[in-house]
Structures are given as structure tokens and as C-alpha cells.
């Protein structure tokens, strides 16, 4: 694998992971020794310093993570602030609507619909008390089933779950 492709793969891995990934894990996935890999990562770090990049590579305790450059924070705030009224990101709202319409539903079924992991959203919705565990599905691993709570109904001004508008009204 040439150095360009290695850099691209690292970017891809860090992007999808979201969380910090250790040098050790990167090294074993890419099958490149840690010393060489570290050199490449340091090069990559410099690449991100280019003025056209909005993200950067940070090192935390021997792990690496992509994060947004702080100088653009004002724009981020401008984009996300209108969404702060519900205190839920678009992703969490999406997850919530899937749960509302398809309850009871497992996490993996939600992941499949959204095409992305929903762990963080589910944790957040549980914290906000708009969803709850409603049981477990029969079958291997007995995965948790989620459903909406009374808080959800109150928050969205619904008397009961049957009052949800039919799905076609969306979009």
C-alpha cells in the first residue's frame, strides 16, 4: 500500500470511528508497524493544517481522533443553534421518530434503517426520558426493545401514540 492510500485509509477509519482509535488498533488493521505508522500519522496531521481543511487530527494518550477546527465554531453554532430548542440533534430526532413509529424496536433495527450506529442517540433519548426499554426480543442475545414514554407524548403534545401523524405527512 502506498503512503497516499495509507493516509486515506487512516482518515476513513478515524471518520467512521468518531471516537479515538489507538495506534495499536490502527497498526493491526493496516498491518503496518507502529513506528512507521506514527511517522505517517504525523505527516497526515500536518496535511490537515492546510487552509482548506475544516477538520484536524488530534492525538490523545496514544490514540487518534478527527475533530473540527475550533476557528469555525461560530459557523457551527449558527448551524446547530436553531436545533437546540428541542435539545435534540437531527440524528436524535430521526432516531426518535423511528422508535415512535416502529416501536417496539431493537437498536440494530434502528441502525439498519438509519444506516449509521445509533448508540449515542439512544443513550441521549433515554437520558431525556423520551424513550424507555419496553422489553426484550425473543431470540439470540435477547436484544432490548425500545418504545416511547409519556414524556415523549407530553413533549410533542400528543394524547396517545395513535395521534402521531401518518408517516406520509413527513418529507
Amino acid at each position: 500500500m502506498d503512503i497516499k492510500k495509507i493516509k486515506a485509509t487512516i482518515e476513513c477509519l478515524l471518520f467512521v470511528a468518531g471516537d479515538p482509535v489507538s495506534l495499536k488498533d490502527l497498526s493491526s488493521v493496516l498491518e503496518i508497524d507502529q513506528v512507521t505508522l506514527k511517522k505517517i500519522i504525523n505527516q497526515l496531521k500536518d496535511d490537515y493544517e492546510d487552509g482548506t481543511r475544516g477538520i484536524k487530527l488530534v492525538e490523545i494518550n496514544g490514540s487518534y481522533q478527527l475533530c473540527s477546527k475550533p476557528e469555525f465554531y461560530d459557523f457551527v453554532e449558527k448551524l446547530l443553534k436553531p436545533k437546540a430548542k428541542t435539545g435534540l440533534s437531527q440524528a436524535s430526532l430521526e432516531t426518535l421518530s423511528i422508535i415512535a413509529y416502529k416501536q417496539p424496536i431493537t437498536k440494530s433495527a434502528i441502525d439498519l434503517i438509519r444506516g449509521v450506529k445509533s448508540d449515542a442517540c439512544i443513550t441521549r433519548l433515554l437520558e431525556k426520558n423520551v424513550i424507555k426499554e419496553v422489553g426484550r426480543m425473543d431470540g439470540p442475545g435477547r436484544p432490548i426493545l425500545y418504545g416511547t414514554t409519556d414524556t415523549f407524548l407530553r413533549l410533542f403534545g400528543l394524547k396517545s401514540i395513535n395521534e402521531l401523524p401518518p408517516l406520509k405527512d413527513f418529507e
Partner: protein, 239 residues
């Protein structure tokens, strides 16, 4: 004549027909209907003898094939009017088969696209959630802030009350009354200062009722309260 097909389970009659047509290496626009019909029915019989349940669509297609076969055997009716065109009895079936075939090919193209694109993954958006959290003033926090502020104001009130000792006030304010009072102010004004609302109360009880009304309105999501800086005035707005 025996047909030579592996025991395959076909999704529907069209699939079976395509299989037979391909096997016979014939032109789809000129299907030897008698031959194909026989093979089709033979296949159904074989499935039946193996006790395999066939969907009713297979039987409907068998009937259609037999109908076409019989039409093709009939001598052509003399043309007695212009509306009755000399149509091939197979035409309708061929049209359907071709349409189905187009979608079948298309679905293979889509499958390729899916195989590539389902491997393009999006990012977990917990970052956006974290940022939103940082500027959404959660109701819990703002209520603590409000209680704090309320207590400071009440202390100030107490000294004020002492100076007005001896006066008689109306003492029967209710939360509901205060709620409609606040909402009526906000119906015309865009904002309302928390301090002003409390300072203007005549009695401690009225201030408490006003405060409870604010909490209730926050809970009902009718209003929200915000403070731009640490020592700025707390602003009440309609949601």
C-alpha cells in the same frame, strides 16, 4: 416429450416462463406457445407430485397459456370490421414478460450500486449532540438558576415589605391567574424581564405564585427563559 429441468423453485410464473424460453432457445417475440405451455404444465405437475405448494399465480398463468394456445389453434376469423385488428394472442403476454425482464435487469444494476454504496458509512453524529447540549440551556439548569434568582429577589422584597408594614393586601392569588397574566403580557410584548415581574408583586405570596406560574409555563413549554451573560437580566419569552 420430457423436460429436462433441475428442481428449481421459481419466485413466480414469469421466472418459470423465462427459464423455459431460455432453455428452448427461442425468440421471445415468437414463442412456440404449444411447446412452452406443455413444459409449463409439466413443471406444475412435477411440483404437485412432490407436494410442493404452488402460489395461485402459477395456476392463473397456466390458464392464460392454455387460452393463448387454443386461440392460436383456431382458424383466423374473417375480417368483418376494422376495429378487430389481426392481433397476435401472445402479444399481451410478451409485453408483460418484457416489462418484467427490464425490471429484472434493472434490479441487477441496482444491486451493484447497493453493494458499493452501502459500504459508504456516515459518521455517528454524537458530536452535534454534544455541541447542541452545550448551548441548549436545559430546563433543569435554568430552573435552578431561576430559584436562585428568586431567592435573591425575595430577600430584597423582605426589606421592602418591612417598610410597607401595616398595609393590607389582596392575598388570594392563584397560579392559574398568574399564568394567564403572564401570557396576556406576552401576547403583546415580545419579552418580559423576570426581575420586573417579581418586583412588581405586592406581596410575598403573589411573588411566589408568579414564580410558580413561570415554572409551570416552562414545564408546559409555553415560555422559555434565557440569560445572555452571567449577570444579565433574565428574559422571559414566548415559545
Amino acid at each position: 416429450m420430457s423436460i429436462n429441468i433441475k428442481l428449481e423453485i421459481f419466485e413466480g410464473p414469469f421466472e418459470l416462463l423465462f427459464h423455459l424460453i431460455e432453455k428452448a432457445k427461442v425468440d421471445i417475440y415468437d414463442i412456440p406457445i404449444a411447446e412452452i405451455t406443455d413444459q409449463y404444465i409439466e413443471y406444475l405437475n412435477m411440483m404437485k407430485s412432490l407436494d410442493i405448494d404452488l402460489a395461485s399465480e402459477f395456476l392463473v398463468m397456466a390458464a392464460t397459456l392454455l387460452e393463448i394456445k387454443s386461440k392460436m389453434l383456431l382458424p383466423k376469423a374473417p375480417k368483418n370490421n376494422e376495429v378487430e385488428e389481426d392481433t397476435d394472442p401472445r402479444e399481451e403476454l410478451v409485453k408483460k414478460l418484457l416489462e418484467y425482464k427490464a425490471f429484472k435487469k434493472l434490479s441487477l444494476v441496482l444491486k451493484e450500486r447497493l453493494n458499493i454504496n452501502e459500504k459508504a458509512l456516515c459518521k455517528d453524529s454524537s458530536l452535534a449532540d454534544e455541541i447542541i447540549d452545550s448551548f441548549a440551556l436545559p430546563d433543569k439548569l435554568s430552573i435552578e438558576l431561576l430559584i436562585d434568582k428568586f431567592q435573591t429577589l425575595m430577600k430584597r422584597r423582605e426589606s421592602y415589605d418591612n417598610r410597607n408594614f401595616g398595609k393590607i393586601y389582596r392575598d388570594n392569588f392563584t397560579v392559574e391567574e398568574k399564568i394567564s397574566h403572564i401570557l396576556s403580557i406576552l401576547a403583546t410584548a415580545d419579552i418580559l424581564y423576570f426581575d420586573d415581574l417579581l418586583i412588581n408583586c405586592i406581596s410575598k405570596l403573589e411573588a411566589i405564585m408568579t414564580f410558580l406560574a413561570i415554572l409551570e409555563l416552562i414545564k408546559r413549554r409555553k415560555i422559555y427563559v434565557e440569560q445572555s451573560g452571567n449577570f444579565d437580566k433574565i428574559v422571559v419569552r414566548r415559545r
